[in-house]
């Protein structure tokens, strides 16, 4: 039995880079090396570009809606970079940038929001589950995937993402409890961006922090400055290593902020002031990394140009891919409900086909 104090998170969120981009003295964890940080920076820039491009596509009427992780890119990048090839990622609707960072084509990811189908990418290709909308439900699937892998003796670890609001759902509790009881190798990574649509964190929990919830399950909880990319990487690396080593599931809470409305359809001015948002601009994860890497001379002007070009190419491919008219086939509505359509679905498919053929001849 672990000493319960070992399960509690640090008093303050782990930080490696302060808000001015300077390394924190006496930090709890070692700094990731420069090569990894440069890769992380590239991913941050691409993540930001993906977020902003997707939001623009909504304004142009190409996407129905987009829940942006603008401002949370350090978490998005960290979640993907902490994974080994055989690991799994369980993302939510907010985590498009993480899914892209894992290697999935953004156009495929946006299939849902484009309205062509529900989940657009092959979950097995990159070991990324479909983005989950029903809050916290995916956390249990993550436990099941991890448990199955463990039963087969594989060293797979599953990274399961959710927001602060989702921690109030019953499935959050059940998932953490199941994972702990079965010692399933899962890292539960909560992006606490202070809001669940309009509802602030104080209305979700009276706990000292979300990471404190771990102790109730016999699980190590840790908290990290979610806008501090090196710290997110270091904390997630450590959690993944512990889960992989058979120490059981881990809970990590990242303190971050949702810079934009919940989605473009939301009006954040109804529930928070600009004065509240402004200070977070200075804590921007990209800015902080850029300052640090420039000072270290890892990031040169030429490098920045290269990375910007890369991000622009991703955005251009998104625009092009989303602009393509891909009329989904009505017949497909019946194709995947069961492994073999039931006789009733065959009848209904024939009905629709007939209706369509008559439409064509009118």
């Amino acid at each position: 039995m672990a000493d319960d104090r070992d399960l509690l998170p640090s008093e303050q969120p782990v930080q490696l880079l302060d808000e001015t981009g300077s390394p924190v003295a006496g930090a709890a964890l070692p700094f990731p090396d420069s090569e990894r940080l440069l890769a992380a920076y590239t991913s941050l820039v691409i993540g930001r570009r993906v977020n902003d491009q997707a939001s623009a596509l909504v304004r142009q009427g190409r996407l129905a809606v987009y829940p942006s992780s603008h401002g949370q890119e350090a978490c998005q990048t960290g979640a993907a970079m902490a994974l080994a090839e055989g690991d799994w990622l369980f993302p939510t609707y907010r985590d498009t940038a993480a899914v892209v960072a894992r290697g999935v084509d953004p156009v495929e990811v946006l299939t849902l929001l484009k309205g062509d189908w529900h989940a657009g990418y092959d979950p097995y290709a990159h070991r990324v589950a479909p983005q989950a909308t029903p809050l916290a439900t995916q956390l249990l699937h993550a436990v099941g995937v991890a448990h199955a892998a463990r039963l087969r003796g594989e060293d797979t670890v599953v990274m399961a993402l959710c927001g602060d609001g989702a921690t109030s759902e019953g499935d959050f509790h059940e998932a953490l409890n199941f994972a702990a009881v079965f010692k399933a190798p899962v890292v539960f990574f909560v992006q606490n961006n202070e809001y669940a649509i309009s509802v602030p964190l104080a209305r979700q929990t009276a706990a000292p922090s979300l990471a404190h919830k771990g102790v109730g399950y016999g699980m190590k909880g840790e908290r990290v400055d979610g806008n501090d990319t090196p710290a997110v990487l270091a904390v997630l690396d450590r959690a993944m290593a512990a889960a992989r080593a058979g120490e059981g599931p881990q809970l990590v809470e990242a303190h971050t902020y949702r810079m934009q409305p919940h989605t473009n359809a939301d009006d954040a001015s109804r529930y928070r002031s600009q004065e509240e948002v402004d200070p977070w601009e200075a804590r921007d994860p990209l800015l902080r990394m850029e300052t640090y890497l420039k000072r270290k001379r890892v990031l040169t002007k030429a490098r920045i140009a290269q990375i910007t070009e890369k991000a622009e190419a991703v955005a251009a491919a998104m625009r092009e891919g989303i602009a393509k008219d891909t009329d989904p086939e009505p017949a497909e509505l019946f194709a995947h409900v069961y492994s073999t359509p039931t006789p009733q679905l065959d009848e209904q498919a024939a009905f629709l086909a007939d209706e369509l053929s008559r439409e064509g001849t009118n």
Binding site: Y124, P130, G144, V145, A148, L151, Y338, S339
Partner: protein
């Protein structure tokens, strides 16, 4: 399992099906509440932990959404989980997982992620159970596209339906009529016929057709026996596969007699029984000599044990419904 015919209770047949499936396929995992050393409150998983080990048949924390949600993940990752909901009404916490994920995952992933899993649900009344232990919850599942929903009425069907459910690449909600758990009958496991999607005529008859499933089949058969003595020949069809529904067999049966009564224990409003009446009427209208009748539970929460018998379809109510099938017009 010997290949010859043995007398088994439905509970034993289900246990045998799990045992045989676990022997044949090492990706089959059984879990739920009290299914381990205890063998389940109805003993359906009796001896499985001892025989296959704690990894293959295990107890979980007490949380139905957790059980089903974890099964989803295991099914995504190469396993064939078979989970037990302890009682019908205690499966409700899992409904979000069932409706939003179990039923939809194949479709939302365009067929890329199949969920080969079975959710076993002991259901319905007739055992004098107190509240929350006797619900007929089949309509919730049958109404949810993407689920296969089956319910046996005999030990042999219990065996074969469960074997086929476990082999299926689609998620199956397996509804077990509690009151039939202990009745014994011949089970010949060497003579398989895939029963999912196929109704079966349990008793031939020429005057009217009783359409029933699960716990109501035995009541319908009893009614047919008494009607026979009174000179009326009733055919009995056991639907057994609620989804997919076997329109062909049911309609052929109804056309052969021209009269039908649907018998089901669940409350009648917006029920599987209502769906069957609609389907039969739409398809067999010109063969029908009378409107199709229903004998179902009242539209009330399941009653306390001392009042239970008023809710269950009885032989008398079935025979009265048959009497109402406008024989005077013949």
């Amino acid at each position: 399992m010997a290949t010859d015919s043995t007398k088994l209770s439905m509970a034993q047949a289900l246990n045998q099906a799990l045992r045989d499936a676990m022997t044949e396929d090492e990706t089959v995992y059984v879990f739920g509440e009290d299914v381990g050393p205890l063998g389940g409150v109805f003993r359906i998983t009796d001896g499985l932990t001892a025989e296959f080990g704690e990894d293959r048949c295990f107890d979980t924390p007490l949380a139905e959404s957790g059980i089903v949600g974890m099964a989803v993940g295991m099914a995504m990752n190469g396993m064939r989980p078979v989970v037990e909901m302890q009682f019908d009404a205690f499966a409700y916490p899992a409904f979000e997982q069932i409706a939003s994920h179990v039923a939809k995952t194949r479709n939302r992933t365009r067929g890329r992620v199949a969920l080969p899993m079975v959710i076993r649900v002991p259901y319905a009344g007739g055992i004098g159970g107190v509240e929350h232990h006797c619900d007929s919850s089949e309509a919730y599942y049958a109404h949810t596209p993407g689920l296969t929903v089956v319910t046996p009425s005999t030990p042999a069907d219990a065996y074969f339906l469960l074997r086929e459910a476990i082999r299926s690449d689609d998620p199956v909600v397996f509804m077990e009529p509690k009151k039939l758990y202990w009745g014994k009958d011949e089970v010949d496991t060497s003579a398989p016929e895939p029963p999912i999607g196929r109704a079966v005529v349990r008793r031939p008859g020429t005057d009217a057709t009783l359409i029933a499933y699960g716990p109501s089949v035995s009541t319908a058969l009893e009614a047919a026996e008494i009607a026979q003595q009174e000179g009326r020949s009733l055919q009995v069809v056991d639907v057994r596969s609620l989804v997919p529904f076997d329109d062909a067999t049911v309609c052929e049966a109804v056309r052969s007699t021209g009269r039908a009564v649907v018998v089901a224990e669940a409350s009648g409003y917006a029920s599987v029984a209502s769906e069957i009446v609609a389907r039969v009427t739409e398809r067999c209208f010109h063969s029908l000599a009378a409107p199709v009748r229903r004998v179902t539970g009242f539209d009330i929460p399941f009653p306390p044990p001392k009042l239970e018998r008023f809710q269950l379809p009885s032989v008398d109510r079935i025979l009265d419904a048959v009497d109402d099938l406008q024989w005077e017009d013949q």
